[in-house]
Subunit: 466 residues, 2 copies
């Protein structure tokens, strides 16, 4: 555990910033070396006589900047040595933070993800045509302050789409257009936790990126383990649950029919809410689509989805489907928070859906991603049979259970060096399972899969010799 010498000037304000600044300098100057564990926030707060929240903020800041990594059960440590991220992205969108000696193993809190789609296939021309259609046809009034719940035409189109493709039970008035699933969850949790503290059950493991979001929105998290059938409903507790039933993140497991039934029972028995994150329902390869839970229990389930995987995360367009009262509360919250999403691209998406452009793009990408997945899975089976590959039925990533002796951080680093979009899996609670990583294949062309997997094999066998 590091012994920290941090000086605070209490007259200056911005205590968290001062702590972060001191730590940053210590890491830069080499006084805190890669891998060093930092004191628990509670202990450091006591030492410095500041509130714990201040230390948490300082740590989170440095995690975001990549100086620290934080893993539940392990604590916070100085980021172990690792490769830099691809140069091209840094040129386009330079990180505002100064150059770092070490790059993060865990991704920063924004930027590329293993589940990011292949954006070189974004339908630029057809999207431009949709925007052109909007700008030559919408009445001027449409550009004024609008309904914070979203453009009516888009809600109409989306309701039809979700009924058709996801077997959802939605009407336009149940839908709120939002800036993606993150905002959808933020708003719903904000509304649900306004009256009383909300204990939210979350799948464990889950997307580590969502954890700060859920907490900021006012939820107290209750991790519930995931097994081969998905969320273990018998061990569920809390006032609400957040699930990814169609394709659990990160394990890729599908919630089994008995578990779906049990989850419904749980919700009805205690008047509890189910938050359903339908994050990659569009990409399903080997089996019939699993309809969303919302279609079974529209009065209990709040469905969130977005075009981030199907189109591009940068569009920041998504939706929430909720029972009428909650939908209205979410719409009001949106109206009192930011007045709603930009309208031109909402109209453009409505046009894109109505004219079939969305379906066409999805069909094309589904074929392409299937090819890429097949190539990666085949390469792994042939070159690294000691890895158990899971969760391949759907989505844009595979879940790899690592053999004994493989560490998820080193594996991630090795895979990242080869250009693979990889993240370590970090359960919130200690679990007896194998170490695991997630590898996204959306940007790995089929013809490069073998080369990448062979590279990983070489790299890991080299490391194991060390």
């Amino acid at each position: 555990m590091a012994d920290l010498h941090i000086q605070i000037n209490r007259d200056k304000g911005g205590i968290a910033g001062q702590i972060a600044s001191e730590l940053r300098e210590s890491i830069r100057g080499g006084r805190l070396t890669p891998g060093t564990r930092l004191p628990a926030t509670r202990d450091l707060a006591t030492d410095l006589q500041v509130s714990r929240g201040v230390v948490v903020e300082a740590y989170e800041q440095l995690v975001a900047e990549g100086f620290l990594v934080s893993r539940v059960g392990v604590g916070t440590q100085v980021t172990p040595k690792a490769p830099a991220r691809p140069a091209a992205r840094q040129k386009v969108a330079p990180r505002p933070t100064p150059a770092r000696p070490n790059a993060p193993v865990c991704a920063p809190f924004y930027g590329h993800r293993p589940t990011s789609p292949d954006l070189s296939h974004f339908p630029r021309e057809r999207w431009l045509a949709a925007v052109r259609h909007v700008l030559t046809t919408v009445p001027s009034e449409a550009l004024d302050y609008g309904d914070p719940g979203g453009v009516p035409e888009l809600r109409e189109e989306l309701a039809g789409y979700l009924r058709r493709v996801r077997a959802a039970d939605v009407r336009p008035e149940n839908l709120i257009i939002v800036g993606g699933v993150a905002q959808g969850l933020s708003l719903v949790l904000h509304v649900l936790s306004r009256q009383r503290p909300l204990r939210l059950a979350v799948e464990d493991p889950t997307s580590h990126r969502q954890v700060p979001l859920l907490r900021r929105a006012g939820a107290h998290l209750v991790p519930v383990p995931v097994d081969e059938e998905g969320l273990d409903v018998r061990r569920l507790s809390g006032d609400a649950v957040l699930v990814t039933p169609a394709h659990q993140y990160p394990t890729g497991v599908v919630l089994s029919p008995p578990r779906r039934a049990a989850l419904m029972e749980w919700a009805y028995a205690g008047n509890r809410a189910i938050l359903e994150d339908d994050y990659d329902a569009e990409f399903r390869f080997d089996r019939d689509p699993v309809g969303c839970l919302q279609g079974l229990a529209p009065d209990r389930v709040i469905l969130s989805g977005s075009v981030s995987k199907a189109m591009a995360p940068g569009l920041r367009l998504g939706w929430v489907a909720a029972p009428p009262d909650l939908a209205e509360a979410v719409r009001r919250a949106r109206g009192e928070l930011d007045l709603g999403s930009p309208v031109i691209e909402q109209y453009a998406l409505a046009h894109f859906l109505r004219t079939g452009g969305y379906d066409k793009h999805l069909r094309r990408m589904r074929r392409e991603y299937r090819r890429r997945r097949d190539a990666l899975v085949r390469a792994l089976a042939e070159e690294l049979p000691e890895i158990r590959v899971k969760g391949i039925d759907a989505g844009l990533h595979v879940y790899l259970e690592l053999p004994d002796g493989w560490d998820e951080l080193r594996t991630t680093r090795a895979a990242q060096e080869l250009g693979l979009s990889t993240e370590p899996v970090a359960p919130m609670r200690d679990s007896p399972g194998s170490a695991a990583v997630v590898v996204g294949f959306a940007r790995l062309p089929a013809h490069k899969a073998f080369e990448a997997v062979r590279g990983l094999k070489v790299s890991m066998s080299g490391q194991n010799v060390d």
Copy 2:
């Protein structure tokens, strides 16, 4: 559905133009009445034995001219008379409050405002060109999950713009791109009130729409009166203050130089924050621009602004300029709330700023709004000299102090019936001042000002006789 009698001279060429011309004359001559639905393009093309594209072209031409409106799911119809809002929106998203016998006096919590710009002048073609530029030039990576603080190119352009036009003291890293001033304030207050309850001083009277937003973001409001010099700084209390120094809303008063100095003193004496809403700084008619407060005290003032008045509220694009620590906290909050604003239109605005399109549009609109303001002020002076007209130096509205016997609610209703964009002024605390209303002039063409004011005169004298 309209039964159209359209005669085409096939020898003449320009068939689309001929169809448009016939339709235009039918609308002008009253044969096609407002609200009439036109046949589907496919049907009309069959009737006329022309290709469908020709009919589409004719319709789009008339939509561009404002004779027709076209809405997804509804089709094309003759533009309804002075529609407050499209009927379709009301159907999809009914106001949650029960129906009221009288037309709304206070506006609903969304929709048109007296400060809304004239959106028929929105630079549709040039904006489309900017979007086209973006979609043909940005790298794919730019469409991925981005920096929640905003696209670097836009922060760069905006920092330059704000330094040049508003004498702001900002660098790109102080700027966070947000979905308008509402979101800017929400985020800043969320961050400021996270550690402890925040008592926020607000101008009284203020924009009644902001009150629920400020409260939802966690602020306890402390109203402080506004007089002829702006906010009465001597009566200020709280941990922070929200001000509109360049043109107070609704009174239109400019914060006087001594008050500006006193406000700074107040902020520095108690380590307090000033939230500056620069909501219509672009439209200044009769005097030199007043630089923003932020330029004087960048470590104390948090500046918010948007393109809602200069371009369109529906773009939902704005910014927050804050001291580094706070800017970073706001950026993080954004990253944990909704992951940032859509990127394509951020790049488009950067391009629009860089290529001078923004300045050009503003110059044009400033001239036009000045004409409209002059016409309204002249008409009021001649027809209703008993009204005191204030706050006319800048912005898109005037503040009218009503004579004895005029009630602000009845006046508002009468003005709204005449199509004037009007709101009653409702101080948070009882004040001895006159009843007052705000009238927006952005959408009142100069040649209609006299007619509107005369209408108001007749209407109010009629009511006073009652």
